[in-house]
């Protein structure tokens, strides 16, 4: 590390990157300074639009001609900007390597992955075919790919996302790079896969002695793997410190703001604290910075000086820099004292939604048309026998990996797709499968918010369209009054009437999602189904939307079905939680009961994998390999047997797991062969199960 007197591997000083386009000047990076030594992981964190990825691209020299790069990037003492393009190319190939967010697009789809890697070795390391093949096997093993020979013969699409990313990492390691740049390498992956990839990165750090620049928007991920962290805001590095200091002794208000936006695990008493929010939006890259702190508009401790003078990076403690005039006044409390979240009473709540043995099969049922059409094959059993109830004013969280059937459940209950079996009861009525066959009142009572805010508003129509149509259809509002009512709806989600006539394209993602929420709330629904509604938003915006949902619930007493792959968010918002795996319920119960041992082994694995924004947290290490299976056949035994780290033996493969009641609550069900008492003991000991031989 740097303290050992080694010259840093990489040193960036006052880097600025400006893009000149026909219509605007985009200052993607204004002033970034950081350094990395060998054997060290530097986490680069910030919200979208803060210039993290641009820094990474500038390092690789991957910027278009319209970009003006100022400042200095010293790599092993050489100024990168002074290099000829051929020198730069060999530098990129041999000493700097990069891993991108989407492993699917980093690999050539038409080539088997083994030869792809061999090609790199032959090209850059002057190896012979045989040497390359041997080295490829070594590399595959070093990134944790079992049976390298078999993996190498597969095409990228035959590998799961996690395995693809391992191959990409192996390729990046092929030429023994001195610096490895990882740009959001786990963002597109499931939490369980993410955890295994992060373990890999940590182990690499020790083995390959390279510096790693790890770019991520996720503070939990950064806390888990970084040695030091640099925080970016509005194109500037605003704080740089060791990971412990950054999380425990924060010196910049933006960093504390980000931290207080992240849902924290509930305290011992099972009560989580409410999220704080950073008001306003990220400083736009199009705006020219005057002589002022870029963060001062949103900063709770801003003073006069902050709007007339631009702060510089100052050393505030040993190895700790911050771009703030008042670093000693930065405390968590500046964002307000966190209040405990109000939890709806569990009993006495009227039942709103009652779903019984819901079943959804995809495909398979199609017959041949005349002589043509696909062969009939067994359907994919996306959802199999799911039961749950939602009480009035309560929130049910549904969590699981991708492929677990969460979205199918959401789409089925709102009627976008018809179930193949089961009952969906709304209050006293049984709902029809298709939304078209439901009554207008039933549709008004259950509304939905989608994951992608950009796609949930018609791009060719002004945003008032969504609101006025909902008002006209559900609330019977007359045409002359719709504008007034639409304005009220918008104001209720914290936006002004001036947005009514704008096309959705002019709004940020967070604003678009608020409009979608306003549309969902237009007719005072009893229940709102939110399918990954905050997943695509930045943490500060996510906190705003989560608070909005909660305030709304407090006022109107509506219920939510809140679906997310992010266990942190689900456990924050939910009163009850349903854990889905491969279309089956693994565990279902009140949040308090479910989040304490005994857990279902799958829940335990999810909890263990979920990144926590606390570098000192040491959760039990339980890792799941592989991905959720595609369910073409009915499971003969337990649905989770294939990946279960606590698998008992043949009983798990042969008999469906019994529904066991949790110890302290009748409303807690675990579907597992292991007796509840035994699960409690195993999990209380904090001991990880021996890795199953896969």
């Amino acid at each position: 590390m740097n303290e050992n007197g080694n010259a840093p591997l990489l040193e960036i000083k006052d880097l600025a990157v400006t893009f000149y386009t026909q219509t605007s000047v985009v200052r993607a990076v204004r002033n970034a300074s950081l350094h990395i030594s060998r054997g060290e992981v530097l986490g680069l964190v910030g919200e979208s639009g803060c210039g993290k990825s641009t820094v990474a691209f500038a390092l690789m020299g991957y910027l278009p001609g319209s970009a003006l790069v100022e400042g200095s990037i010293l790599f092993e003492g050489t100024e990168i900007a002074s290099l000829e393009s051929s020198e730069l190319r060999s530098l990129r190939g041999n000493r700097i390597a990069m891993v991108y967010q989407d492993p699917g697009t980093s690999l050539t789809p038409t080539m088997r992955v083994g030869p792809q890697l061999e090609e790199v070795l032959i090209e850059h390391m002057n190896m012979t075919q045989e040497q390359a093949r041997a080295r490829t096997a070594e590399l595959f093993e070093s990134v944790g790919l079992a049976d390298p020979g078999a993996i190498g013969r597969r095409y990228p699409h035959e590998l799961s996302g996690g395995m693809q990313q391992r191959v990409v990492i192996a390729m990046a390691l092929a030429c023994d790079p001195h610096l490895l740049i990882m740009d959001e390498p786990t963002t597109g992956l499931d939490v369980t896969t993410e955890a295994t990839i992060l373990d890999l990165v940590v182990s690499l750090k020790d083995r390959v002695n390279a510096g790693i620049l790890f770019v991520s928007h996720n503070l939990g991920v950064i806390a888990r793997i970084a040695d030091r962290v640099a925080v970016m805001y509005g194109g500037q590095t605003v704080e740089e410190a060791s990971v412990r200091d950054l999380f425990k002794d924060t010196k910049h208000p933006y960093t504390t703001g980000l931290l207080s936006c992240v849902p924290q695990p509930p305290t011992e008493t099972g009560v989580s604290t409410r999220l704080q929010r950073i008001p306003g939006f990220v400083y736009r890259a199009e705006d020219e910075a005057g002589e002022a702190c870029l963060f001062q508009e949103r900063c709770p401790i801003a003073q006069e000086r902050c709007s007339s003078q631009a702060p510089q990076m100052e050393v505030v403690a040993e190895g700790h820099q911050a771009r703030c005039f008042y670093p000693d006044e930065v405390k968590t409390e500046i964002w307000g004292v966190p209040e405990p979240r109000v939890i709806a009473p569990s009993d006495g709540a009227e039942e709103i939604l009652d779903v019984e043995s819901l079943q959804k099969l995809y495909g398979g049922a199609r017959k041949k048309y005349l002589l043509f059409g696909p062969e009939v094959q067994p359907p994919v059993r996306a959802v199999e026998g799911v039961n749950f109830k939602v009480g009035s004013g309560r929130t049910l969280g549904i969590v699981g990996e991708s492929g677990s059937g969460k979205s199918t459940v959401a789409r089925t209950i709102v009627g976008l797709i018809a179930p193949n079996g089961g009952r969906i009861g709304l209050r006293d009525a049984d709902l029809a499968g298709d939304v078209e066959k439901r009554t207008n009142d039933e549709r008004a009572a259950m509304r939905m918010v989608f994951q992608n805010p950009t796609a949930s508003l018609n791009p060719k129509l002004p945003i008032k369209h969504t609101l006025t149509r909902a008002l006209q259809r559900f609330a019977g509002v007359r045409r002359s009054e719709t504008r007034q009512r639409a304005t009220e709806l918008l104001e209720a989600v914290g936006m002004s009437a001036e947005y009514l006539d704008r096309p959705p394209g002019q709004l940020s993602g967070g604003q678009q999602q608020r409009v979608a929420l306003a549309g969902a709330f237009a007719a005072n629904p009893d229940i709102v189904v939110a399918d990954e509604a905050v997943s695509s938003l930045d943490v500060s915006v996510q906190a705003q939307v989560l608070n909005l949902l909660e305030e709304r619930q407090k006022e109107a007493g509506n219920s939510y079905v809140f679906i997310s792959h992010d266990l942190g968010v689900v456990r924050y918002v939910s009163d009850d939680i349903l854990v889905l795996y491969a279309g089956n319920v693994a565990e279902y119960g009140s949040a308090a009961a479910l989040l304490a041992p005994p857990y279902h082994p799958y829940t335990e694995a999810l909890l263990s994998a979920a990144p926590v924004p606390d570098p000192e947290a040491e959760p039990t290490r339980i890792r799941l390999e592989g991905a959720v299976p595609t369910m073409r056949e009915r499971f003969t035994g337990c649905f989770f047997a294939g990946r279960c780290p606590r698998k008992l033996g043949s009983i798990c493969d042969e008999e469906p797991p019994p529904a066991q009641q949790g110890p302290d609550s009748a409303n807690h069900t675990i579907y597992c062969h292991i007796p509840v008492d035994e699960l409690s003991e195993l999990q209380a000991s904090g001991e990880a199960p021996a890795p199953s031989a896969v």
Binding site: V435, R443, F474
Partner: protein, 308 residues
């Protein structure tokens, strides 16, 4: 003309929606005119449209009437008096080409509009209903497309002539529209398929919107570029089809001048008086080339990929 009127209303204040619409059309036209092909094509088409609209008032001679006794003026070569010469009846070819422009343009544009409208209905329905409906509608379209184009046109033409007692050009418009529907509906279906799964369409379903509302109000605005390009492209095809029908003697009936019919009449005298056939042929080809260039310009200005 409609835009000109709308433009005036905007000048007087107008309503904001209309003003926005006119503004959009203006900027769209501006974008098309920025491309080379769009500019050239636009000018060619504008000349043709101008002549079709005002031609009858500028023609120097009567395009239809002729004097059977006047053998002198037959087959006279192009001269200052007769720009494109005269035909076998001694009629001025230039006057006839101008007079023919109107029926050709009107029929081609009318037929295409009808074809696009039918295509929208069938294509969007097929895409939105999906599943079995989509399968059967599209197989029906396939059967339709399997017929040789001209044969199909002749069939519809014959049927509609027998059953409908309407104006001759309306019959041809109807024929073109129905004949063009299948291919239009395919293109529109594929565009609509890309929009259908988007969340705002699902949202409209959750509001309980009607089928027609969803396809015309939610989906249609998002496929307008495809529809515009498809429409202009089809005008070119329609022009050729109208001329083809005229050439076969199945289009506009004499004595009303029609380009295809003029070529057909003049082709027996190609050696002695090529001008009588070449002039309408040039008119057809220049208009078709103009329309195709314009289509290309529109496509470029919309940044759509060239997929045909």
């Amino acid at each position: 003309m409609a835009t000109a009127e709308a433009g005036q209303e905007v000048a007087r204040g107008g309503n904001p929606a209309l003003r926005a619409a006119v503004g959009k059309v203006r900027s769209a036209v501006g974008l098309v005119m920025k491309t080379n092909t769009g500019r050239v094509g636009g000018i060619i088409v504008a000349i043709h449209v101008f002549l079709a609209l005002f031609g009858p008032w500028v023609v120097p001679y009567d395009p239809i009437a002729f004097d059977p006794q006047d053998l002198e003026s037959r087959f006279s070569a192009p001269s200052t008096e007769h720009l494109f010469g005269t035909d076998k009846f001694g009629r001025d070819v230039f006057s006839r080409v101008l007079a023919g422009a109107r029926s050709v343009v009107w029929i081609a544009v009318g037929g295409t509009t009808l074809g696009i409208f039918l295509g929208l209905l069938v294509g969007m329905t097929s895409a939105y209903m999906g599943g079995r409906w989509d399968m059967w509608i599209m197989r029906g379209v396939d059967v339709w497309l399997a017929f040789p184009g001209l044969l199909l046109l002749l069939l519809i033409l014959d049927l509609s002539r027998k059953t409908l007692q309407v104006d001759e050009s309306l019959v041809i418009i109807l024929t073109l529209g129905i004949g063009m529907m299948p291919i239009n509906s395919r293109v529109i279906r594929s565009a609509a398929l890309a929009v259908k799964p988007l969340e705002f369409v699902q949202n409209a379903r959750l509001r309980g919107e009607s089928f027609l509302y969803i396809i015309f109000r939610e989906i249609l605005p998002n496929i307008v570029p495809v529809v515009v390009v498809e429409g202009t492209l089809r005008v070119g095809f329609a022009l050729l089809a109208v001329s083809g029908l005229g050439f076969l003697g199945l289009g506009v009936q004499p004595p009303t001048p029609d380009w295809g019919q003029m070529i057909s009449e003049a082709r027996n005298n190609m050696r002695g008086a090529p001008w009588a056939a070449l002039a309408p042929a040039f008119a057809i080809s220049s208009l078709v080339v103009g329309v195709n260039l314009l289509t290309d310009g529109i496509r470029q200005s919309l940044n759509l990929p060239v997929n045909r």
